[in-house]
Amino acid sequence: MSRPPARPGPEQPAGPEPSGRAPATGTADTPPGPDEHRVLTSLLGAWALAACSAAETAAVETHLTDCAPCAEEALRLRDAVGLLHSEDSLDLDPMLRSRVLEGCLDRRPARIPMPAWAAPYDAETARLDALLRDMAEEEWRAPVQLRWFDGERQAARETTVAGVLGHLLAVDGLVATGIGLPDPLPSGALPTGPGAGPQARTEVYWALDDAGHRAQAARERWREQSHALIRDVSFLAAEDAGPGGEHAAPDRRVDYGGFTLPLRDAFLDRAFECWLHAGDVAQAVDYPYEPPGPAHLNQLVDLAARQLPGAIAARRRSGLAPPVRGLATAGAPGRTLHLEIEGSGGGDWYIPLDSPGTRASPERTVAHIALDDLEFCQLAAGHVPPLDAAAGQDGDPQAIQDVLYATASLSRL
């Protein structure tokens, strides 16, 4: 915020009224009565802020010369104006959060730590929340295009910033109910079974007409749930790690409708979605948004890379990719693609091409793809058509195509 140039005010007292008429509320010659004193006193705040008319300013200043209590107050209020200050650093460095929290935990380790696989979700929800903090009312209604790859082509859906929050709330709700938290969707609103996936939940939530869709309320409901998720999963992981823990928390599975994910991967999946949709929101309101820190980005890339064998197999089953050549033996080393992700969140992944059951083997590499970490994430989000991804490629063209298409197919509404 910046102030426009000053208009005449108490620092630059206004001259006498051009007409020479006496101000409405008393003159220096006739001391004001109690009523006039009351009116002039009520003007002191406006006077100190240079927010009254020239006539009123003159009347107040005349009054101040012969009313000591008012003069004293006027001085103090004018000094107080000097303390008003625009907020000059609205944006906290988002990386400060992890530095502060790490510093705390070094000094006093947590008794209920946060699982490492929940940390990206914690960090990404905090970053999105900070982006939303200073959002103006009309920005909540800014149009947002959600884009993904539906298996064959690019798909898109129009919503608003508030709608994106509803989408995140509704899909995070899958994980919430998976660990025993209440469902943000009203009971009975959804069919059960394979229909109850992310897309159906989002449509149901968007169709509800309640205050939860609007601005501040949308943010609060989403934030409350994300805090509850982090809190409860920490306890769950601590119990599982303790004596008598029968199910280790990472082996719990979250039902996504048509498929399930291990709890730890579900948290990474939600962190990935939160980051990308925060990017959609930031773009809609024309605000810069940074990628996650390297360690978290690496976990998100790893999740996508690990999901590729299953995604390739699913595309073959539905006829979107040609069948595998030759017979694959479960557990045996099979044809392999070397996926080299560059950048601070990158690394090397070896993707088995024949079936999810075969073992990847660097010695049996038939193709190599090199891709920047952020470009890979954009591809996995369905924001980039598979064959447009800026990838360095080498080797079996069908293998390369299978992997690029499978990566884009990981995306959904």
């Binding site: 802020l49 927010a51 929340d129």
Partner: protein, 179 residues
């Protein structure tokens, strides 16, 4: 929140940060006027709360006010340490200037806190008059209140703000505010 911090929940520490980081960093920056120094004061404040989860006494007021006061003490102490590094022991003028700098920084931080915690009706009126340069009649129209009420809000808002200054505060008539 306090019990969860005492129990050692890392998740509660994250929530504490999300609730207070912008207050803490904003006040520290106002006192120290330097990004790195404000970051470091922010680390110190959160580490103190995390290591002393029982230090806050809810009977003495809201946690936000307590965190603000802790931040101001921490940041002011950092400012004094900074001054000691630069100090010229033979310059009473410099000592006087440093003292004045601490007083002004503390008043500025108190004022920021008062502005963020005053009723939003008063804050909105001050912002219109100060940042938007509305006169009180325009402010009254924007806020949908009488001109009398707009004058009252501007005066009361400044009276609250003036309590940040070292001299004794004016008693705002009828103010429902305890600093």
């Amino acid at each position: 929140m306090q019990q969860r911090l005492a129990r050692g929940e890392a998740a509660a520490l994250g929530e504490l940060y999300d609730r207070f980081a912008s207050l803490v960093h904003g006040l520290a920056h106002r006192v120290l006027d330097d990004e790195a120094a404000a970051d470091s004061a922010t680390r110190e404040v959160f580490a103190y709360i995390w290591e002393h989860p029982r230090a806050f006494d809810p009977r003495e007021g809201p946690m936000r006010a307590w965190v603000a006061a802790l931040t101001q003490r921490t940041a002011t102490a950092a400012l004094r340490r900074q001054q000691q590094r630069d100090a010229d022991p033979d310059s009473p003028e410099q000592a006087e200037r440093f003292e004045e700098q601490v007083r002004a920084a503390a008043a500025a931080a108190r004022a920021d806190y008062i502005v963020t915690s005053m009723p939003s009706s008063l804050r909105a009126a001050l912002e219109l008059a100060y940042f938007e340069r509305h006169d009180y009649r325009q402010a009254a129209r924007t806020l949908g209140v009488t001109e009398d009420e707009a004058r009252r809000r501007l005066r009361l808002g400044l009276q609250l703000l003036s309590s940040a200054m070292p001299r004794p505060a004016l008693a705002p008539p009828g103010a429902e505010y305890r600093p």
